[in-house]
Structures are given as structure tokens and as C-alpha cells.
Amino acid sequence: MVAIVMRTYERPVLLARAIASVQNQTFSDWELIIVNNGGNPAGVESVVSVARNTSGTSAITVLHLPERVGMEEASNQGLRASTSQYFAIHDDDDSWRPTFLATAVQTFSSHSNAAAVLTGVTRVHETFKGGKVWPEKHENFPLADSRLTYGRLIGGNTFPPIAALFRRSVLDAVGYFDSSLPVLGDWEFNLRAVRDGGFVFVSERLANYHTRTPESDRAAGNSITVGEDLHLRVKKELQERWESEMEPNGKSKGSFSREVEAEVAAAEAKLQAEIVAAARAQSQGRTIRRIARAVRHPKRTVRAVVRRVRPTAKW
């Protein structure tokens, strides 16, 4: 019922983890298509053979592409190799909580015309060093109904692929991913897909979007964190390409995209300024409370200071 396309290239440790996240799903009617995008077949097969022992099923298919193609072409090849009612693009470095598929499929039952169901996302900052993954921080990835409309998405992508389960018939209606795009193919596809029934959002955070910190071994980096310049360049190119396409509001799609992008940037800058101001006010308040506490409890303060300056002694 659900096809999961997992693109991978030379990241066996992360691939093993990603496959485990699929195998741990409480929803069991899935097929996993791993697209080895020109990487060493032996490495992928080694991980998959171990994984197949866990699943005990033949629901894992591997496509070894002879040479590396773009991310979107890899997705398309995986999709064309599968049949299903729904599909998801599960990158080899991301993961789901066990109830992601069950929740998304259940949500589709009451929103059968929706193009996709998305869940809340946790952003996991992690370092990949010496063949091991070291989680650094988990934080809420800002996602809400308001960020999933065409009018908001046109300004820039608002969610990672791991958050979404798509209705497969969307592919028939709007086409596959644009293979010519080196990055941001998911954004371009989302803009077409959202107009075919809209996106439904479930706020529970069931998807984990993993990003590697700059200290990580380079091969394990995200396409976004490693290639920010490329993303900016491709975005500009897309906006230029859209200049000739007209929106129902009478603006060109390219202008509309730039306009929304500017509005979002301004709103985010304003919000950031408010957060900084609030943090500053809180910090000032904390200092005042500390001074007040020191005045109220002078002995306790002296003891704390003494503890901090006490010379070294043995355990």
C-alpha cells in the first residue's frame, strides 16, 4: 500500500539506521525501494542483507544505478519501480517514529483527496565522526497548516521530504520530480502537488529530520548543510524560469515567489528580533533576581563563592 523510496550514496551506517526506522513501523503494508545512486553495490547489499534478516520479508528491493544521477532522477526511478496507493521519499539519513505510516495512512482515510499528509518534525542535529552518529540536539521543526499552503510554499520550501506521505495518483496528475534539478526538486514538486488536493497536517512529531553539524565527516553531510550556495543558485534559476508563468493573481510565478520569499524573510527577521529582545529582558530579570537573592541570603552567597574559588583538593 505504501512505497518508500530511499535514495542512498555511500553512507552505509546511516542507511542501516534509516532502514531500521522503516522496519520499526507499526504499519506493516509497505515496500521499500532503496536506490543506490551510483555507490558501491557491495556496501549497500551488505547492509540490506542484514536488514532482510530482521524483516523476514522480501519487501526490500534494491536498485543499483550504474552511475550517479540527480536526487530527483533517483527518486523517479524508485517510484517507477514500485506500485502503491501512497508513497514517501525517505532519505537515507532521516528517520520516522514507529507510528508515522500508521498515522499518515489513517489520516488519508478521512482526507482521501489530499495530495499529502504531513506530520510534525523533530530536527535532530547530529555529528557523524569515526563511523558513529552522535546526537547533539533535538528541536521542533517549525511546521503548521499555515506553512503548507501554495501561497506560503511559493516563497520557499517549508518541510523536509521525511515529513510527507503522498497520494500516488498525484504523480499522474502533476507528473514526477523534475530530474533536471540538482537540488530543490522536492520544493518544485511540492508546489505542483499542493494544488492537487492540498496538504493535511498532523501536529504530532513523527518524523525526524537529521542534519549533520559542520564538524561531521564531509561524506555524511546533508545536501542542505553542505551545499547552501547551490540551493540559493538553483532557487534563483527556478524563479527566473517561472517569470513566464502567470499566477491566478495576475503576477508572474517568479515575481510571486520572490515577493513571498521577501515577506517571509522580513517576518522571520522581526520574530528573531523579538526573541532576542525577550531573551535580553529575561536575562536582565534573572540578574536582578540573582542580586535580590544575594541580598536576601548573604551567607548562602558567600558559601557559593567560596566553593567556586576553593583550591584543588583530593576526592
Binding site: 531500521a20 533535538h138 504530532e204
Partner: protein, 660 residues
């Protein structure tokens, strides 16, 4: 003291006042704030994930409401409406949602209320003797609500006139204000009043100041833990602990039973239920419970089979990190020789020979003590003998595995507590090589942490309560409780250090150490017995708490591990202080204590050494148990506080992973 004795000891009384919560009425959960966890569960069920996290926010909202009230009147108590306002601000609730949450909290309280037997008996006896009964409570709920709760618990005689509650009278029991109101309502001299309650300050010190006689009974508090941990995931253990509190009410608190029936029983039930699910879904060539972490589950598995449950035969298979690693050794180099000898170890040649399983030639006397560096040099000089001994061990290990059925072609399940899975991954390599890939392993682990990631490439692994997908905080919390889990989930025998030869059927040779035997005899044996009984009841759906294996979801088990491991009660820390871990490769020596002793000179202990101390505690001991032990001493409390301050995720308070 019996009911009659309590009343006879105060023969002149005409009024009996009774504290309400945990004296007269309790709940079917282990601690008061778990009412909010039940409330959250119900709100999410009825109205969706909008209400996820409301229990945690509810606790915080009450705190903020109390702080705000204290600014204007430090003596008065707050009301449920004031708490709801704070909650509304935090969660952005509408007026309707505010009413919903108040109404749900009240109805949840009523549904969970039950009478405390001792108080019910005293009240009944007092009423028989014609003594008037009043209820006195420090609480934010109105008297009318306490009446509803009392009636739900079986006190049908209670009316609002019987209830004196702090939020309606401008002061608490614990600051003395409410006691003046009690005297006024009672209308008799203080000497004619007996009060029964569970709080030293509120129910004893303050009323005694006015001449009111008191009787304190704290038995209903024995199940309390940290009040901030309120995710609905805590409820299975909470319900079990509430049942323990009630069943041990008339006897002495039995910490071994509490641990075994609670956390350990849940772990064992989860291990068994997980394997039952696997064999329902697919065929496996063999099921193998690992020594020693799988001993309890293996016992439970066999008892289920004996009781007629259709389950396949499962083996109890001995292996250990040291044996598997030695059996895998093909070359001894300066890089890997360290795995035979710890950095700080002082050894003799005789002990070293036992450790590597062969005679060693050296210039040292057999009983002469040598440091780790010298010992490693001796091994490298004897590398051929060491490798040959390892290869012989490999044959014995494989001979044993064959008898255990592990080399039978097909896919085998190995049940273990887990953590990094490296030992099972090494074992899988041995077996794959010996069978040319005909036999494969899958590890069903209770918990894994981040080191497990590369091992996933070597062996199929499934972490039940915890995986490396979780936050770093949870990974570290797991690290801090690993030693505790290994101590609790154990067997009546020591670790395997070798295997006999073919003439003795490759029998595993377990090493028995005095510290482990002592702990097993004093405590762990009883924990294990209770755990097996509890696990059977949980799997069969007959546990007195009503909890079943289905309730022990991965997050519920994780919450149970953290409730005990991260928020231990004092009785647990004290009981577990006798446990020592013998972790050397040959399992000789006295080992290290599970609960580390506080520094001998805490007043002069330097702040600069706290990181080293933290590191030692988290890797070598039960971190939170050791910190709790520190927190009990006036001189050492600052160390626990400071570590909690510097590494806040290691405070005893934790929340579910969604909020972490």
C-alpha cells in the same frame, strides 16, 4: 497501632479531624501528579493531540500560580481556576478549553479516588463512638469537589459542612492559618480534637502548636517519586506501584518485591512479549535468551510453556563480551592488547594466564604484581600462545553454540538487555563465518544507545525501550542507568569466562564472585523471583494492577526505566547500595559499587573536578543513585545539586521524549 488503639490513646476527644489526600482518600496511581497523566490521556483520546503535554504544563502552571499568589498574599492557597488561567496562557487555551480542562481534572480525580483502609476504619470507629468527624485539606479544589471524591471513595456521609479546605479559607494547614479555622468550626477546645494525617509539618507540627493531638501515618506516601514526571507513559508502572502500596499497606515495605514486581517485571514481560510477537509474525530457526540478562525472561518463557501456552522451545545461551572477543582474536597487536587489560589494572602473571587461557613466559614471578603496561608487554611477547589459546576457545565456543542450536541454518533471535550490541555483533560474525552465512542472528534488545549505529550494519538489531534515534539527553540518561539495569536484570550465576572441552559437552564455566553472590542472596534473588511472577501475570493479563503486556509499550518501558533509574526512591538507593559490579575481563576482584560513595572530604572537594566525577559516575556507576546518595548528606548535597545544574538532563526530573 490498631484503630481502637489510636482512638483509645486519645480518650477525651470529641472531634476527629482527618487529612484528605493520602490519609483518607488515595488514587489508583502511585503519586498525585499522575492524575494529570491520566487526564492528559483522556483529553488526547477525546480531543486529539492538541492536549499532548498538558500534564507537564499543568504541574508548571500550578507552580506559577503559587508564585504569583505569594506576591500578593503569602499565606493563602490558590484555586483550580487560578491554575487554569496559568495553563491557558502556557497552552493558548480558549475559555471553553479552560473549562474543559478543569472539568476533566475534576472527573479524573473522582474516577481515581479510593478510600485508605486505615483512615476508613478509624473514621467508622469514631462515628460509632459518637465522635464528630471533619476533613481538613491543603488543596486548590473547592469543598464541593472533595465531597464528590469522598463519596466516590465510599464515604457517603460527607457533605460540604464536613470539609475545611485551604483554598476557601485564606490559609494552609502547613502555615498554621487553617488550624485556627478548624478550631472555630469544631467549636470545642483543642484538647478535644485528634487529627490524623501524613505530613509532619502540616499535620503534626502546626496543629500540635495549638494543642491538637495528632497521629501520623505515612504509608500512602511510600509509592511517591519525583512529581514532575507526568507523561502518560508513566502510568503502567504507576498503576503497578499503586497496587504495591496498597498490598504492602499492612506489612513492612518490601523494596525487593517492589523493584521486581514493578520495573524488572515490566522489562521481563516486554522481553517475553516482544519475542512472542516475533514468532507470531515469522518463522525463526531458534530463540536464545542471553546469559545473564535473559535469565529471568527465559524462566518466564518456560513457565508459560509449562502452563500450556503454545510457544517454541528457547535456549538459555551463555556468552560474554570477553569470551566472544577472545574467541574472535586472530592477531594480538599493540592496538588490541588493551582489551585484555584495563588502564588502571594491577595484575599478576598467574591472573593474566587465567585471563588469556594459556601459560605465559616472562621474567616476573607468578604472584608478582605488575602494572597494565607491563602486563600488555608480556602478552605481546607471548602473542602466538595467546592467539593459539583464543583459537582453541573459539572451537569450544562454536561447539557450545552448536549444541545450543545456534548453528542450525536459518534466522535466530537473541534476547539481551543490549546497549551497543557489539558483543552480539561479534558473535554474529563468528557464527556467520562458521556456517558460511547459513545461520544469521537478530538481537532483540531492551535498549540501545548511539554506539549501536555501526553495529546495525553487522547484525539486525531491534531496541525496544530506547534506540539511538533518541535525543542525546536520553542517550546519556540510558548510559547513566545501564549499570542499574544490569544489576537488576540478572541471573543466580556469574559471568561465563570459558567453556569446557568436548568431553564435557562444552559446558559454560561461570565464575562466581563473592560480591555478586552476596548481593544475589541479600536482594537480587528476591527481585528476580518477584519479576518472574510479575512478568507472567503481565503477559497473562492477571496482574493485580490490571496492567497487561500490551500496556508495556516501548515508551512506557522507557518511562519505567527512568522512573526508577532517574528518579529513585530513597529505599531503592539504600537497598541497592550493597551491589558491586565485577567488570574485569576475568571477573575477578571486588568490582565497583553500583552506588558510588560520596567524596570523603566533600567540603574541600574542588569544583574543577566535577567533570571527572560526573564522567566516572556515568560510566562506572549508577549515576542517579550515586547522586541521590550524595543528596542525603548535608555536606555532600551540593555535589548532587551542582552536577544537576551543570548537566541539567541528569536532574531527577525528566519528561517524555516529545518534550525533551
Amino acid at each position: 497501632m490498631s484503630t481502637a488503639q489510636v482512638l483509645n490513646a486519645h480518650s477525651g476527644i470529641t472531634v476527629l479531624t482527618v487529612d484528605f489526600f493520602d490519609t483518607m482518600v488515595t488514587r489508583t496511581v502511585a503519586q498525585p501528579t499522575h492524575v494529570f497523566a491520566v487526564m492528559e490521556q483522556l483529553l488526547v483520546q477525546k480531543h486529539g493531540s492538541r492536549w499532548a503535554g498538558v500534564a507537564y504544563e499543568r504541574v508548571q502552571a500550578e507552580h506559577r500560580a503559587r508564585v504569583a499568589a505569594a506576591h500578593t498574599d503569602a499565606l493563602r492557597d490558590i484555586t483550580i481556576e487560578e491554575i487554569a488561567v496559568e495553563l491557558a496562557v502556557a497552552m493558548g487555551l480558549s475559555a471553553t478549553e479552560q473549562s474543559t480542562v478543569i472539568s476533566e481534572e475534576k472527573s479524573t480525580e473522582i474516577s481515581l479516588a479510593k478510600a485508605v483502609p486505615a483512615a476508613a476504619a478509624i473514621i467508622a470507629e469514631a462515628q460509632t463512638r459518637g465522635i464528630r468527624v471533619l476533613i481538613v485539606s491543603d488543596n486548590y479544589m473547592p469543598a464541593s469537589h472533595l465531597v464528590s471524591m469522598a463519596r466516590a471513595a465510599g464515604y457517603s456521609w460527607v457533605t460540604p459542612e464536613h470539609v475545611i479546605v485551604s483554598c476557601e479559607h485564606g490559609g494552609f494547614k502547613h502555615n498554621g492559618v487553617l488550624w485556627k479555622k478548624v478550631l472555630e468550626v469544631a467549636g470545642v477546645p483543642a484538647a478535644q480534637i485528634l487529627h490524623i494525617g501524613d505530613d509532619q509539618e502540616a499535620d503534626n507540627v502546626q496543629p500540635s502548636k495549638l494543642g491538637i493531638a495528632t497521629h501520623i501515618d505515612t504509608r500512602m506516601r511510600l509509592s511517591h517519586r519525583d512529581m514532575h514526571n507526568t507523561s502518560p507513559d508513566v502510568l503502567p508502572l504507576s498503576r503497578i506501584e499503586a497496587t504495591q502500596r496498597d498490598s504492602m499497606y499492612e506489612s513492612e515495605w518490601n523494596v525487593a518485591h517492589a523493584l521486581g514486581d514493578g520495573l524488572v517485571g515490566m522489562v521481563v514481560a516486554a522481553q517475553v512479549a516482544d519475542v512472542m510477537n516475533v514468532v507470531k509474525q515469522r518463522e525463526v530457526a531458534g530463540i536464545h535468551f542471553a546469559a545473564r540478562d535473559g535469565w529471568l525472561a527465559h524462566q518466564a518463557w518456560n513457565k508459560l510453556r509449562e502452563s500450556g501456552v503454545a510457544l517454541p522451545l528457547a535456549s538459555y545461551t551463555a556468552f560474554s563480551r570477553s569470551v566472544i572477543w577472545r574467541a574472535s582474536l586472530t592477531e594480538l597487536t599493540p592496538d588490541n592488547v588493551g582489551r585484555f587489560i584495563g588502564e588502571d589494572e594491577v595484575l599478576t602473571i598467574a591472573r593474566l594466564e587465567r585471563r588469556v587461557g594459556c601459560a605465559l613466559s616472562s621474567l616476573y614471578r607468578p604472584d608478582e604484581e605488575i602494572d597494565a603496561q607491563s602486563a600488555r608487554a608480556v602478552l605481546l611477547e607471548n602473542d602466538k600462545q595467546v592467539v593459539a589459546a583464543s583459537q582453541q576457545l573459539r572451537q569450544r565456543v562454536l561447539g557450545y553454540f552448536e549444541l545450543q542450536g545456534l548453528l542450525k541454518p536459518g534466522h535466530h533471535i537473541v534476547v539481551d538487555l543490549g546497549w551497543t550490541g557489539s558483543t552480539i555483533a561479534d558473535m554474529a560474525d563468528l557464527i556467520t563465518e562458521a556456517t558460511n552465512g547459513a545461520s544469521t542472528l537478530e538481537a532483540r534488545l531492551t535498549g540501545m544507545y548511539w554506539d549501536a549505529t555501526p553495529n546495525r550494519m553487522r547484525v539486525s538489531m531491534h531496541g525496544y525501550a530506547m534506540t539511538e534515534f533518541e535525543s542525546l539527553d536520553n542517550n546519556l540518561r540510558l548510559l547513566g542507568v545501564i549499570k542499574l539495569m544490569e544489576a537488576l536484570v540478572t541471573a543466580p550465576h556469574g559471568s561465563v569466562v570459558d567453556f569446557a572441552d568436548a568431553s564435557q559437552n562444552f559446558q559454560p564455566i561461570f565464575v562466581e564472585t563473592a560480591p555478586e553472590l552476596f548481593a544475589y542472596e541479600k536482594l537480587m534473588g528476591r527481585v528476580g523471583e518477584a519479576a518472574i511472577a510479575s512478568a507472567l501475570a503481565l503477559v497473562q493479563g492477571t496482574h493485580a494492577s490490571g496492567v497487561t503486556a500490551k500496556d508495556i509499550t516501548p515508551t512506557a518501558l522507557w518511562a519505567a526505566i527512568l522512573q526508577v533509574g532517574q528518579s529513585p526512591r530513597r529505599d531503592e538507593v539504600e537497598a541497592l547500595s550493597i551491589v558491586r559490579h565485577v567488570t574485569s575481563i576475568d571477573h575477578e576482584g571486588d568490582g565497583t559499587p553500583l552506588v558510588a560513595s560520596p567524596p570523603s572530604s566533600p567540603k574541600s572537594f574542588p569544583q574543577g573536578q566535577l567533570p571527572d566525577l560526573y564522567n566516572t559516575l556515568i560510566h562506572g556507576h549508577w549515576l542517579q543513585g550515586s547522586l541521590r546518595s550524595c543528596s542525603y548528606g548535608d555536606d555532600t548535597r551540593w555535589i548532587a545539586d551542582e552536577i544537576g545544574h551543570r548537566w541539567p538532563f541528569m536532574k531527577s526530573q525528566w519528561v517524555s521524549s516529545q518534550l525533551a
